[in-house]
């Protein structure tokens, strides 16, 4: 149970109604933000844009989101982005490694290992990411604008980790069903 009321579609405020699907469905994050429509109106497009593939491809984004979420122990975000990462082409073994707090070094190619190392430094302390980690990313072809996007994706994820955990949001039924189906098949 979440710690706040999640707004169902029949009660969705006017500014937020468009974020609910034709069948009335919406993510728990949307349904929580609907409590404050004037914030939902700007937060939802921002979150959507920040975490959408663009400068960074979908696989890269999902690696960052899942690793940061695991390091911040956010059950909601780990579950949700495990499923989204599968849709982005990550294997179950890869999401398992990224989604566990301890992690698992050596599973990925150097470019993605550098990404994981960045996430771990990002979450370890509120201090600059060590230059050698940024250089490692540059060696893998990341330009400055991509490093900025990477930091933004990690930062938005961190905000959502705190938001979802503080409010006790639970993954959607669709997410739970996907996870349970994979678990049952394993």
């Amino acid at each position: 149970m979440s710690n706040v009321e999640l707004i169902e579609s029949q009660q969705a405020p006017l500014l937020v109604q468009g974020y609910y699907g034709p069948d009335g469905s919406a993510s728990p994050i949307t349904r929580a933000l609907a409590q404050v429509p004037e914030l939902a109106e700007v937060a939802l497009p921002f979150i959507g844009r920040a975490l959408a593939p663009g400068v960074l491809d979908e696989r890269t984004v999902e690696i960052i989101v899942l690793r940061v979420s695991a390091l911040n122990a956010c059950p909601y975000c780990v579950a949700t982005h495990t499923v989204l990462a599968w849709d982005a082409g990550l294997s179950e073994a890869e999401t398992g490694a990224l989604g566990s707090p301890a992690g698992e070094r050596g599973r990925f190619e150097p470019r993605e290992e550098a990404l994981v190392a960045f996430c771990e430094a990002f979450c370890a302390a509120p201090s600059p990411v060590p230059r050698k980690l940024l250089d490692a990313l540059r060696d893998q072809g990341f330009a400055d604008h991509e490093l900025v996007d990477l930091a933004l994706v990690a930062g938005v994820t961190l905000m959502l980790n705190r938001f979802c955990t503080a409010l006790g949001l639970e993954p959607s039924e669709a997410t739970r069903e996907r996870l349970e189906a994979v678990e049952a098949a394993a």
Binding site: I7, Q10, Q11, P13, L14, L15, A34, P37, E38
Partner: protein, 288 residues
């Protein structure tokens, strides 16, 4: 622009334009409180003596009125709950009416001699009391509005007329027979309220009217956008900040933030402007 005129932001200018051309209603509504000494059968806010009060701070109401003037609103409405349960209400209404003309919705059941003396100065100000009276038949009226309501209202109206207070009578529910309406009109005329000061409005199927399926269902498309502030936030219309089974409805919530008034007004305008053109479904109902 004069040296003393305060420049408005582009958003505030847009709101002024929308009020001027009627896209947003020119009356700002203020829900002073949600509690009431009555428990009416169709009450939108499930108001009752023990309801959570959900008070709007009087200072905030005055600040909202000041901002309403700047944004181009032309009128204020004060409603509840029963506003006269607020101790300082007569003085507050006087303050508000020095900014914009005020219509005050009241059940007119609390007018003791002492309170009448306090409201008397309002006769000299642009203030109208809108008093609820649903039937000329005491039993029919009291079935909707509670025991002895009819007797209290017909006692209060002539006293307020005598004070020179501008009055309107509001009848909720538009399903009465012509004969019933005739009797009701004869009654308010006899009490001193002229015909053009009698308003009949439908019951809206929200709040306490919902389970009994009383009245008509209304959506934002059918309700005129009239910015309405309550303790719960800013809403689309005075028919919007409703309560059902103790829970505040959010379907017609515009924003939680009330002040600066520009914030909810601009949010309301963005909703108005995003409305696709369609058939005019408006039933033209208003709170005053």
């Amino acid at each position: 622009m004069s040296a003393t005129a305060e420049a408005l932001s582009p958003a505030a200018e847009a709101v002024r334009g929308a009020i001027a051309d009627g896209r947003i209603g020119d009356r700002l509504w203020l829900y002073s409180n949600y509690h009431c000494n009555l428990t009416c059968a169709y009450c939108l806010t499930e108001s009752a003596p023990r309801s959570p009060r959900r008070l709007l701070d009087p200072e905030e109401m005055i600040a909202a009125a000041d901002e309403a003037v700047k944004l181009g609103f032309g009128r204020l409405g004060v409603t509840g709950g029963e506003p006269f349960l607020i101790k300082e209400l007569p003085e507050l209404i006087a303050e508000l009416s020095r900014r914009l003309p005020v219509i005050l919705n009241t059940n007119a059941t609390l007018f003791t001699d002492k309170l009448l003396a306090r409201v008397a100065p309002l006769a000299e100000l642009p203030v109208t009391f809108q008093i609820s009276l649903d039937s000329a038949d005491p039993e029919a009226n009291d079935e909707l509005r509670g025991p002895r309501n009819f007797a209290k209202v017909v006692d209060a109206i002539p006293k307020l007329v005598e004070l020179g207070i501008d009055l309107r009578v509001a009848t909720t529910g538009d399903d009465r027979s012509p004969e019933e309406m005739e009797r009701l009109c004869a009654l308010h005329l006899e009490l001193g309220v002229p015909e053009d000061h009698h308003l009949v409005r439908p019951i809206v199927n929200r709040g306490r009217a919902l389970p009994g399926q009383m009245g008509i269902h209304m959506t934002s498309r059918e309700l005129q956008p009239e910015l309405t502030l309550s303790a719960e936030g800013a809403f689309w219309s005075p028919f919007a900040p409703t309560v059902f089974e103790g829970r505040s409805d959010t379907d017609l919530l515009v924003s939680r933030q009330r002040l600066p008034l520009e914030v909810p007004a601009a949010a309301m305008l963005s909703i108005v402007d995003s409305d696709p053109e369609g058939p005019d479904l408006s039933l033209g109902i208003r709170c005053g």
